[in-house]
């Protein structure tokens, strides 16, 4: 059991390295720079954790690096949201969605964590609460992008959807695990680890699948008024006269 857990625990590391390589190779960095930073940071943090896994500072390293990862996760969600909203709906009110989600999440996390008695110390309480807050934002963004796919016709093969699906699915599992860990305390440690690491492996696999295909450059969007039906008639005539292979 211990050996399986160890394999599961460190399995995302080689996958993250492959993902970094894919992002380099496919030139995906210029489209999602913050996601690249996130993957790079997580890979680096996992290497450090692996090297110092038997050292006494390991718990601190784990939780502080996890906090950094949660913050970067929120930035990545914003990057994804900006990219999708700019592409789909260029309306002023759309820009308010992300800040409203973040503020609502902060309030909800505050209310939720205050309502629960836990045996964790203050620092850990804040760490777990912050992590849960980031997960809620990730789930909310996944829901939003799913709405964009179902309602507004965003392609499910778009990398933005892939990033948020990975985060969202991982976040739903991790959130459940973190909530139980917060409520039950350190007795839930083993299950918390298993759920977190298996769902994170699933998320990395989703990202690997999405980033195995190149990102297609968007056509420059013109702000010119659309062509009229008279233009269309002219165009139709030209198209009819032009020889086709």
């Amino acid at each position: 059991m211990e050996a399986i857990l160890q394999v599961l625990w460190w399995a995302p590391l080689p996958m993250l390295v492959v993902l970094l390589g894919l992002m380099f190779w496919r030139h995906s960095i210029r489209f999602f720079p913050w996601f690249f930073i996130y993957v790079f940071y997580t890979a680096l943090a996992t290497i450090l954790r692996f090297v110092l896994r038997n050292h006494e500072i390991y718990p601190y390293l784990y939780w502080y690096s996890d906090a950094g990862s949660a913050v970067l996760g929120i930035i990545v969600m914003y990057e994804v949201f900006r990219s999708v909203s700019y592409k789909l709906i260029r309306r002023l009110w759309v820009n308010a969605i992300f800040p409203v989600t973040v503020i609502s999440t902060l309030i909800l996390t505050f209310l939720r964590t205050r309502a629960v008695d836990t045996d964790l110390n203050t620092t850990m309480t804040w760490m777990i609460a912050g992590q849960m807050c980031a997960r809620i934002i990730e789930v909310a963004m996944f829901l939003l992008l799913l709405v964009f796919v179902a309602v507004l016709g965003l392609r499910w093969r778009e990398h933005q959807f892939g990033i948020s699906a990975g985060f969202g699915i991982y976040a739903a599992f991790a959130l459940l695990a973190s909530t139980k860990y917060y409520e039950i305390g350190s007795r839930f440690n083993l299950w918390w680890s298993v759920i977190s690491v298996v769902s994170y492996t699933g998320a990395v696999l989703i990202w690997l699948w999405y980033f195995s295909t190149p990102i297609k450059a968007e056509a420059p969007s013109s702000e010119q008024p659309p062509l009229s039906l008279q233009d269309l008639e002219r165009y139709k005539d030209i198209a009819r006269r032009a020889p086709r292979p």
């Binding site: 709906i89 309306r91 909310a140 829901l143 507004l152 016709g153 739903a172």
Partner: protein
């Protein structure tokens, strides 16, 4: 208590979303090409839509009918416009799917046309979905039969969520026609007839 319910609701929503995403991918229309567009569109009578939103027609009806008669008729007119908006939502969805498919292979000028179609398609879809919500809300609370508030005016439906519905749909028709002609393999007349 509320925070507890909300918290678990969000977690549940995350799991449901994952299942919905799988369902959407599984049941999606496979590869909508130019040959799978015209047959799937639902024709829209644009003149009737314009007539329903015309403020002058509505003013005449208000003037020449008793308030009871006008409220009863207005409810029917809301249902009529609802049927038109549903068709707009369906057609824009078909055209977005087609544009998404074309975007995978298009380059240069064709890619620009595809992007335009995607952009206007999303606008129409946004309008129609917000308009559907608004119209259904009117029907739900039976605003037409309330004596305290005036009967709703369909002229309000011209612009919803910052999008001018009929103008956007007209642009969608133009953008779809351009791409149709550019690809040049489908029945153009059938497309125009069904849009």
């Amino acid at each position: 208590m509320i925070s507890y319910v909300l918290w678990y609701l969000i977690i549940t929503a995350g799991f449901i979303a994952a299942a919905v995403a799988i369902g959407l991918i599984w049941f999606r229309f496979p590869d909508r090409t130019i040959h799978d567009v015209a047959d799937y569109l639902l024709p829209i009578d644009f003149e009737k839509a314009e007539g329903l939103l015309d403020p002058q027609t509505e003013a005449i009806l208000r003037k020449e009918m008793t308030p009871e008669e006008f409220r009863a008729l207005q409810r029917k007119r809301i249902h009529h416009y609802l049927a038109i908006v549903k068709r707009m939502a369906h057609n824009s969805s078909v055209l977005i799917e087609w544009a998404n498919r074309e975007a995978e292979t298009a380059v240069g000028q064709r890619l620009e046309m595809v992007s335009k179609l995607q952009q206007v398609g999303v606008e129409v879809r946004l309008y129609s979905l917000l308009a559907l919500i608004k119209l259904r809300f009117w029907l739900l609370i039976r605003l037409d039969s309330w004596w305290i508030l005036p009967a709703p005016s369909l002229d309000d439906m011209r612009q919803v969520g910052g999008v001018r519905g009929l103008e956007s749909y007209d642009r969608l028709k133009t953008a779809a026609s351009f791409l149709f002609v550019e690809i040049g393999q489908g029945n153009f007349e059938e497309l125009l007839q069904n849009l």
